[in-house]
């Protein structure tokens, strides 16, 4: 996983509710492809016109926003399908952090597996960042500091955010979950022995 400590970037307002992972990356792009190379297809149904050229209406195509690492989103961002390709596609187009009032649970978990930081903040704060950014396009920069757990808006207001201690550590240091779990190998082995004795039916039926 890519580590993440702090970014400073132009916050791209994409304030639309229920942006599902089908919209972030169509499934056709995930059939027979890997974790890389999905960037050009992120949001493709919104991002390009029928002739394949950039849709000027799409925020991430607009001057000053293109290529930004920071996306502002609305309620329930990343809802729907569990496809981790949604995270790979966002990261492939350069996004490292999404700030939204709420996220789809599976998407939220997938973000932390890859080093894309999902930050939950109230919609009023997100709108404030959007307004401050739009007031001074080209100059406004927002900082997301995972080390200090704060977002600093373009006008310098510091807004704390919550993040799981465990996930924060993993992200700051780019830790791999499987390696961490393998430290519990003895506990897993002991648990299995106990459960097999207590609930043999759960084991023998698939033995």
């Amino acid at each position: 996983m890519e580590s993440f400590s702090s970014i400073t970037a132009t916050a791209v307002p994409f304030l639309r509710q229920n942006v599902d992972t089908d919209v972030i990356i169509p499934i056709q792009r995930l059939v027979g492809t890997g974790r890389t190379g999905l960037g050009p297809y992120a949001f493709e149904r919104l991002r390009y016109l029928a002739d394949g050229s950039d849709n000027p209406e799409f925020p991430l195509n607009q001057p000053g926003y293109k290529g930004s690492q920071l996306l502002l989103a609305d309620e329930n961002f990343g809802c729907g399908s569990s496809r981790e390709g949604a995270v790979w596609a966002l990261m492939g187009m350069g996004v490292r952090c999404v700030i939204a009032p709420s996220f789809g649970d599976i998407f939220f978990a997938n973000c932390f597996q890859n080093g894309l930081l999902p930050v939950r903040l109230p919609i009023a704060v997100i709108r404030q960042i959007a307004e401050e950014t739009e007031a001074s396009p080209g100059n406004a920069r927002t900082t997301v500091d995972l080390e200090r757990r704060v977002v600093i808006t373009p006008t310098g207001t510091e807004i704390p955010f919550e993040v799981d201690t465990r996930k924060r550590e993993a992200m700051l240091h780019g830790l791999d979950d499987i390696a961490l779990t393998k430290r519990h190998a003895e506990a897993i082995a002991a648990w299995r022995v106990g459960d097999r004795a207590a609930r043999p039916w759960a084991w023998d039926s698939v033995a």
Binding site: D22, E75, G80, A202, S205
Partner: protein
């Protein structure tokens, strides 16, 4: 203290407390499918891990297989590559694969309960958001992404943060024409698409107890469309009767031991949920979605509301327009939501000697090889074919459009699946979610129609 079913299952599967609300959970079962399964195993092997407990992993190709009658693995070449990878990796690691055309093959959330892989009190994970379907068996089943799937395969465990608990009670008698699909669509419309985010939902109440197992699977299937990774129904005598004798259900002396354990799984009387909702069955009518999110739903007697201009523009609908009577081009009866034998029976029962409207393409895609064979044994396929429906091979088909099958751009499709997202059934495709009976009625009428007027 009185405990919820969720708390009981969670607490019984904690291998280690990781702090901060996180636990390392043991996974009793892992399901994998063609879209991500082969790659997940290969990544685990490449990283120097093995598959920890291959006998607890079950694999099936469903997402990227063609549903064309007479299909084989070569019908959709990209899917063939994925299937070959699944065959190779499961073969290498000893994971059971339920391949095309054999009993046990089917949509992952149809075949797993059908085989008795999913049992009360267990934990189950799968790289698919509709894994919540399996919670209908009284277990804790949830969808995960590719990285978590690798972790699950490598360790048979997963670090998870304990969600909050929600109960949704459905009380009262079921009105005519109302199915489990209508119950859950109504709930999503009322509570919202993010109401369940961060929660494990238990569906309860007299109307849920009255549901058959296949209906409970439909109910739990759309939990994720309410934001909840987990949806569950307490196991009861119907659950036990459904499971008895299935291939991977406990046998002989262990069967009685299992039932004794399963009787302790339901929530204790007086167990407290973080959130409790009550829905009255008499408030529910047959539902149809009108927008591009499952929460954008109305009774079939209703009208297109104002508000979401982008959704209405995509759907080609006008605010104030009556939903019934809207012309339909396609009908899809299938998916992990509604492709089981009882769903197909319900759809066939609407036909009543009528024929699919001339301008409509209507597909029936059974959820598994077993469903297909059972349906054919009772002649359902003949009834569908004679009425002008296509009778196809099991798979995800038009629900996911990852298999070469799509609803054409601009076409309007009534679908028994679970997502009406933009482009879900194909670029530009317009999806209306509904029950199998409502979908069959729309195929015959050639338009959105109240199924109660058709039977």
């Amino acid at each position: 203290m009185a405990k919820t079913m969720f708390d009981k299952i969670w607490d019984s599967r904690v291998v280690a407390d990781l702090g901060d609300g996180w636990s390392l959970l043991y996974l009793d079962r892992v399901l994998i499918h063609d879209l991500s399964g082969g790659r997940a195993i290969r990544e685990v092997l490449d990283a120097g891990h093995g598959v920890a407990e291959p006998n607890k992993v079950f694999a099936v190709p469903d997402h990227a297989v063609s549903s064309r009658p007479g299909r084989d693995e070569t019908t959709f070449p990209i899917g063939e590559k994925l299937l070959k990878s699944l065959r190779e990796t499961t073969g290498k690691t000893g994971v059971r694969l339920f391949d095309l055309g054999r009993p046990g093959h089917g949509i992952v959330h149809v075949m797993a309960p059908e085989l008795g892989v999913v049992l009360p009190g267990l934990t189950l994970a799968c790289g698919d958001s509709h894994t919540c379907t399996n919670g209908a068996m009284g277990c804790m089943a949830f969808g995960i992404g590719a990285s978590e799937l690798g972790h699950a395969l490598a360790t048979q465990t997963l670090p998870q943060r304990r969600p909050r608990t929600m109960r949704i009670r459905f009380e009262g008698a079921r009105p005519p024409g109302v199915t489990a699909k209508d119950m859950i669509l109504h709930a999503i419309g009322r509570l919202g698409t993010a109401a369940g985010t961060g929660y494990a939902i238990e569906y309860a109440g007299s109307a849920v107890e009255a549901l058959e197992i296949e209906e409970r699977l439909t109910l739990c299937n759309l939990s994720i469309e309410m934001g909840a990774k987990i949806g569950m129904v307490a196991p009861d005598e119907k659950t036990f009767a459904y499971l008895q004798g299935r291939d991977f259900a406990p046998k002989a002396a262990q069967w009685q031991a299992a039932i004794a354990d399963w009787r302790a799984v339901p929530s204790d009387p007086g167990a407290r949920f973080d959130v409790d909702h009550l829905i009255r069955m008499e408030d529910i009518a047959p539902q149809i979605t009108w927008g591009t999110s499952p929460g954008q739903v109305a009774p079939i007697t209703g009208f297109v509301p104002e508000g979401d201009a982008a959704a209405l523009s995509y759907m080609g609908l006008e605010p104030g327009q009556k939903l019934a009577g809207t012309k339909v081009d396609w009908v899809f009866i299938g998916s992990c939501t509604n492709s089981r034998l009882s769903d197909l029976r319900a759809a066939a029962d609407v036909i009543g000697g009528r024929h699919v409207a001339k301008h409509v393409t209507a597909w029936v895609v059974p959820g598994s090889e077993t469903v297909k064979r059972e349906a054919e044994a009772e002649g359902l396929h003949t009834r569908f074919l004679e009425a002008g429906f296509e009778w196809r091979e099991p798979g995800c088909a038009l629900c996911v459009a990852a298999n070469g099958e799509q609803v054409p751009a601009g076409s309007r499709c009534v679908s028994t699946s679970n997502r009406n997202f933009v482009g879900r059934q194909g670029t530009g495709a317009r999806t209306h979610l509904a029950s199998p009976a409502m979908a069959a009625a729309a195929a015959l009428a050639g338009a959105l129609v109240d199924v109660r007027e058709m039977v």
